[in-house]
């Protein structure tokens, strides 16, 4: 499944935090990019039938269509 490209973190940081200095924006961009570097490819495992665990129960039964690769 193709996903939209990873956002341009620097542009988004600048848009949300225009009042911050360039070094401060750079720090945020770096953290954000690091957080995402391994996450984005994982999304290919998701199908539309899986529910999120917003209220996390470690022993809860799975959703419809749940499967682990």
């Amino acid at each position: 499944m193709a996903f939209p490209p990873v956002p341009d973190w620097a542009q988004l940081t600048a848009a949300l935090y225009p009042h911050l200095s360039p070094p401060e924006r750079e720090a945020i961009t770096r953290i954000w990019a690091a957080n995402y570097q391994n996450f984005h490819p994982l999304k290919s495992q998701i199908n539309g039938e899986i529910d999120p665990d917003t209220v996390f129960l470690p022993t809860a039964p799975g959703s419809l269509g749940e499967s682990a690769k």
Binding site: F39, F56, L57, P58
Partner: protein, 466 residues
């Protein structure tokens, strides 16, 4: 070092009174405060009153269990109506809760004596406990080193023998990292087993409350006092808690212990790897069966945590993010970056979490009773160190190296326990992490207790301990 249960036995044999233990605890804590900076607040008057009350209860034959009369302390994110709760933050410097955290209620109901509130990494969002507002907390094994975090004061206070147990919280390793760097036991229970009511949140679907104490048996004693359903915590597990009862010599016969060369034993200090391998051989000699697994995919679970935690943390602190100057420069960008995570990706991360929970059941818990790994891949770094260099020449970033092996188990919500596994050639403690399926606290604590019984590592005091 005297353990919690040994102190409990002293009280019952009348060889010591709670008042004596409490006075000694407060006296030593204050004496070492300039060197260790473990405490933020002492609750001396209330502690002495509670100690006298415990002694009176003993005198009239009332025994509430092993915590009665025992000096303990809590991380300063547990609400206390008798003392401020700062969460290690300048923003909450004046916060005086109007009620006690559920854990504090339960500790007091069990007769424990609360001697104070412990220092921590600012807002629990970090692992050094080098606090920008309240100063660096120092490691009792070497005060030039960090105690780990975010429950750094808890680790330092237990390792120095200032209290017999300390409460911590663990969102991405914040109990197990200080337990590892300070050489104590520390349990992150199953998600929802211990109420979060009255605690300052960080990542609400990842936050776990648990004890640090000298031994696994001590952790079990504290867990038995604090666990159980709480309708005031929306995420509290509804099932009744069965107290953990560890036999005098826990049997390992037939116990299946998994390990993974992939990920859990990669990119770590070779001495820590050798310690884990030695522990595996010892467990095998004591009757356990070893099960090699390939768990490289736990890296993916860590990646999921990198999306969930910053988003939840930013949502918690967003009302205060306008007070930028009152946030330490280290944690401020973490919260600000968290605000940028798309809602869709946060939800996708929670869906992935569900998938990986199934995968853990299929690929780990269906094959073993416990999983053995290091708690941290390095020993306690120096205060201010940003990277450490392993003997292999590999440079490892301190934050990543400290959290890499623990974070996945917050995402999975499973019990994960740290206990001292041996000593590095530097003299610093190295720790084992023992993990099991949800609600199998008894398995991890019993395995830890047997290991401690056989090795006696916990008997070696830190230089700052009594």
């Amino acid at each position: 070092m005297t353990t919690l249960l040994e102190a409990a036995a002293l009280l019952r044999s009348r060889k010591a009174s709670s008042l004596e233990l409490t006075q000694d605890s407060l006296s030593r804590s204050k004496k070492l405060q300039p060197q260790l900076n473990a405490f933020l607040t002492f609750t001396e008057d209330a502690a002495l009153a509670a100690a006298r009350s415990a002694d009176a209860d003993f005198a009239r034959g009332l025994d509430r269990g092993p915590l009665q009369g025992i000096p303990v302390a809590v991380k300063d994110l547990f609400y206390t109506k008798s003392a401020p709760t700062t969460a290690g933050s300048k923003i909450f410097a004046g916060f005086q809760p109007s009620f006690d955290a559920a854990v504090v209620e339960k500790l007091e109901a069990a007769g424990a004596v609360l001697t104070g509130k412990l220092g921590m990494h600012e807002l629990a969002f970090g692992i050094t406990s080098n606090n920008a507002h309240y100063g660096a907390i120092r490691n009792p094994w070497d005060p030039t080193r960090i105690p780990g975090g975010s429950s750094g004061g808890s680790g330092a206070a237990v390792a120095a023998g200032l209290v017999f147990a300390a409460m911590g919280s663990d969102t991405g390793g914040s109990i197990r990292i200080p337990a590892s760097y300070c050489g104590t036991a520390g349990l992150k229970p199953t998600y929802g087993l211990v109420s979060r009511y009255g605690t300052m949140p960080l990542g609400f679907s990842l936050d776990h409350m648990g004890p640090l104490a000298p031994t696994s048996r001590d952790c079990a004693a504290v867990l038995n006092a604090i666990a159980g359903p709480d309708p005031r915590d929306a995420y509290s597990a509804s099932q009744p808690f069965s107290p953990v009862n560890i036999p005098p010599v826990p049997s390992l016969t037939g116990l299946r212990i998994a390990f993974s060369e992939e990920f859990l034993l990669e990119s770590i200090d070779p001495e820590i790897k050798a310690m884990v391998e030695s522990a595996l051989r010892a467990f095998h000699e004591w009757g356990a069966t070893l099960v090699p697994l390939k768990l490289g995919w736990l890296r993916d679970v860590v990646a999921i945590s990198h999306v969930i935690l910053p988003a939840e943390a930013a949502s918690v602190l967003e009302p205060h993010l306008g007070r930028r100057d009152e946030l330490g420069s280290e944690i401020r960008p973490l919260f600000e970056a968290g605000r940028l995570i798309p809602a869709v990706d946060y939800l996708q991360a929670q869906k992935l979490r569900r998938l990986y929970r199934s995968k853990a059941q299929a690929e780990i818990w269906n094959h073993c009773d416990i999983l053995l790994a290091p708690s941290t891949g390095i020993t306690a770094p120096k205060i201010g160190e940003q990277t450490v260099t392993l003997p292999s020449g590999l440079d490892v970033e301190v934050r990543a190296a400290s959290t890499l092996l623990v974070r996945a188990f917050n995402v999975l919500g499973v019990p994960a326990h740290s206990t001292i596994g041996g000593f590095h050639s530097s003299g610093l403690p190295m720790s084992l992490q023992i993990v099991a399926a949800p609600f199998r606290e008894a398995a991890v604590l019993a395995a830890g207790a047997r290991f401690e019984q056989e090795t006696g590592h916990y008997r070696n005091p830190a230089p700052f301990a009594a």
